[in-house]
């Protein structure tokens, strides 16, 4: 129940996956930016309240910083492919770059889940972060599905 709302948001992402893939790709980069903002605020609050150690907070914050840089690259890259009519259309040769960046993001999130500074967290806090990081990783994977889809990124001004 605690993560019902995040699950609903992810459900909305998947529901929109069948149409306007270019717009969904752009929207997903915005969602990732929002999740990273959320994660930053939670780390700040939890470390300030002493509920997680500074070391654990640092592990999460440093990973979020790298994920944010990857998302920024994806956004800058995507802007190049916005057509004069406002649609986003990725050329075939851009796909591999997107897939590589998204793969790096997925590896980073997986690495965070096995980081000793995270596995050492108390069960209650660790479970919250596992769900958060998994949601973030799933959102990156959703982005990959838009990139890899057959008629990717056509439509959606």
């Amino acid at each position: 129940m605690k993560y019902f709302l995040l699950t609903v948001i992810l459900g909305l992402c998947l529901a929109g996956a069948g149409c306007d893939k270019g717009k969904e790709l752009a929207k997903t980069t915005s969602r990732i930016a929002g999740y990273i903002d959320t994660g930053t605020q939670i780390v700040d609050r939890q470390t300030a309240a002493g509920r997680i150690s500074k070391e654990s907070g640092l592990a999460i914050a440093e990973t979020l910083l790298k994920l944010n840089a990857i998302n920024q690259q994806l956004i800058v890259e995507s802007k190049q492919y916005v057509q004069p009519d406002g649609n986003l259309a990725l050329p075939e040769d851009a796909k591999s770059k997107y897939v590589a960046l998204i793969g790096t993001a997925t590896t980073l999130t997986t690495g965070l889940l096995t980081d000793p500074r995270i596995t050492a967290l108390p069960d209650v806090e660790r479970q919250k972060w596992v769900v958060f990081v998994t949601d973030l990783s799933d959102t990156f994977k959703l982005l990959a599905s838009f990139v890899n889809s057959k008629n990717n990124t056509q439509g959606g001004k």
Partner: protein
């Protein structure tokens, strides 16, 4: 009578999930260019906030 403090039952994850839902609503109706611009602005804010947080945590 025991009072349960609000923060103990409404944790930050739920409050921030609500914020995400509000953001999701705000994204509706935006064009590709507007969505990418919004995302780019948010990543710039995230970058500044995360660097600030990391510096504070390292002290």
């Amino acid at each position: 009578m025991n009072f349960i403090s609000l923060p103990s039952i409404i944790n930050e994850f739920i409050l921030l999930a609500i914020k995400e839902l509000l953001r999701e609503g705000a994204r509706r109706g935006l064009s590709c260019v507007e969505l990418l611009d919004e995302a780019e602005q948010q990543t710039a804010i995230n970058d500044a906030n995360l660097n600030d947080l990391i510096n504070r945590l390292k002290q």
